[in-house]
Amino acid sequence: MSSGEQRASWTAMHRLLFLLVLCGALLAGRLPDWRSSDGNQDPDTNVNTRYTVESIDLKGHAAKRLSERLQTELNRLVGEKLDPSRLGRYAEMIQKELRAKVAVRVEKGTQQGNVAVAFEIDRPTRVGLDLSAPKLTYYSNEGWSGFGQATITKADNAFKFGLVSDGDELTERFTGIRAGYENKFLLSDRVGFRFDYSNYRAQWNSATLNALAAGNQLGGPEGIYRTRESFAPVVTFALAKPLSLSVGVDFVRLQSQYPSANNESANAAISTLRYSQRWGDSDQGRHAKANDEESTDLTATYAIRTAARTLDTDLVYTRHSFGSRFAWTRGANKVIAKFTGGIINGAAPLFERFSAGNMQTLRGWNKFDLAPKGGDRIATGTLEYRYDIFTVFYDTGAVWDRGTSPSQKHGAGVGLHFAGFQVAVALPLRDGHMTPVFLVGTTF
């Protein structure tokens, strides 16, 4: 197949993937709501469950900021029999969304046999501080990676500040700061705004440097850089309940290392379409385990980054990436299937290139053995089975460059997984020697 034919087939493929996401989203609107009502409707334990909800009233200043989606769900309670446990769950949801205290009041209605429900919403919590570690991992091929973050929230505004040292995600180890601002209620609950700022110092593995030197690519815009600075304002639109679209621009400045310190820019328009849906038990996890309930989660993301001359960029390229995750849970059993794919066309900087053989993909493999300078094509898949805290997984995939043949790799492993934290031993499946790789950590 010629490179022109390959390009045409890949273009057709990513169009197909995009259509699949879109069709899935449209189809989801027609799927039945399998969410079961687990509310306590037993008339023996609450005599009021025989009464009909006459009205739902939202009281307090913050009430007007409640999302349309939640307001619609609350209004659906009118005409139904009273379910106190369901009201409790809605109070929790309101509390979570508005960050305010919520009290539920139930009184006699205007007609015999009816009751009136009021949610009394207090003023939002003044300022909240949350410390978290979204990533803390050890992968014996790469060493430690970590990301610690402090989030200060006030009403709908969140200010974030974090410290990062990550040798897992990319071919470079990037160390530095990450900061940002987010507002999930920009005029409406369907529009959110955020901007992210990051400033990293890059460290390079000798395998990457050797591979770049061999191809005479060490210097120049596509070569290695000392620092990487990014500023990205993004607006997110909630298109429909499970579907959201984010649009923005990522202004990236790279300080190249060879032949001399020089600034290059890789400014790109970014767009992400995300579909996320859950069917079955809404409070999955602890209760699903206990109740032997069934739930299904599906998340699919398509992202495109386009660096064009109109954005005053030195590097011109387009990067498409697709990711999907399907999880089926029944009691203590969980089956997870994941797929990622991506294509880069044009001259992309090293941080945009795809890498596999890390905590997420092709576990057990060393990413510097697979593609020391990353690849402009990637396709990986994972099949994982968990029983309670025990997990067994199989990874497959390839990273390669346009014009070369992909070499599919396989890996498998066993481990323990609890509350997002995993400890595992992974083996790259190949002829000859087998070196087990130890991995531990949490990634959210």
Binding site: N40, D44, T45, N46, N48, P84, K108, Q112, V115, N291
Partner: protein, 198 residues
């Protein structure tokens, strides 16, 4: 010195109050079981009552025990859980005994609902001789609205909540938000207790 006196005063007052409570717990035989009455004991008050008048179900756990050796040796214990609700239109209480399949008792006044709960818990003699001094203790917990995990299917069987779960509840300290009332009677001799009914 003042602090010591205050502590002693507090201890004396606590002992006095406990003695007063003890007088409030009256014991009688019904068949082979010991029943109690406690007309001065009220648990449908304060926050639990507020929650009930707001249409919620409030759960109370009861433990009734009989001991010997100066209240140190437990001879027998009965555990019950009741779900109480307040009918917003009838303005009456309804009580359901969760460890049995019995129908709930409805249209009760507050005092009648409290009495119903106490009437429906009974303990055996635990093999205590009629002439041996015994102590009885009633403990009521709950009303904080945080019983949800106990209602998990593992805890509720065909006949309601499991005995193991109730034992577990009474073996841990009550949370600060939880209502906890203790009433005691004793020492007295089983041979001196009057029989009620046939």
């Amino acid at each position: 010195m003042i602090k010591r006196l205050a502590q002693l005063g507090f201890l004396f007052l606590s002992g006095f109050l406990l003695a007063v409570w003890a007088e409030e717990l009256m014991v009688n035989w019904q068949g082979e079981h010991l029943h109690i009455t406690a007309p001065q004991l009220h648990f449908l008050t304060g926050k639990p009552l507020e929650r009930l008048r707001n249409g919620a179900t409030v759960v109370f756990d009861f433990s009734l025990s009989i001991s010997t050796n100066s209240n140190l040796k437990l001879r027998d214990r009965a555990l019950e859980r009741y779900a109480i609700s307040y009918d917003l239109w009838e303005e009456k209480f309804s009580v359901k005994q969760l460890r049995t399949a019995k129908k709930p008792s409805s249209l009760l006044s507050g005092a009648a609902a409290e009495a119903w709960c106490i009437d429906n818990i009974a303990v055996g003699s635990g093999g205590v001789a009629p002439s041996e001094p015994v102590w009885m203790r009633l403990e009521v917990r709950g009303g904080d609205g945080k019983e949800a995990p106990i209602f998990g299917p593992k805890n509720i069987g065909e006949s309601g909540i499991s005995l193991t779960s109730l034992v577990e509840i009474f073996s841990r300290p009550a949370s600060p938000q939880q209502l906890r009332i203790v009433a005691e009677a004793g020492p007295f001799k089983l041979g001196e207790i009057k029989r009620k009914g046939p």
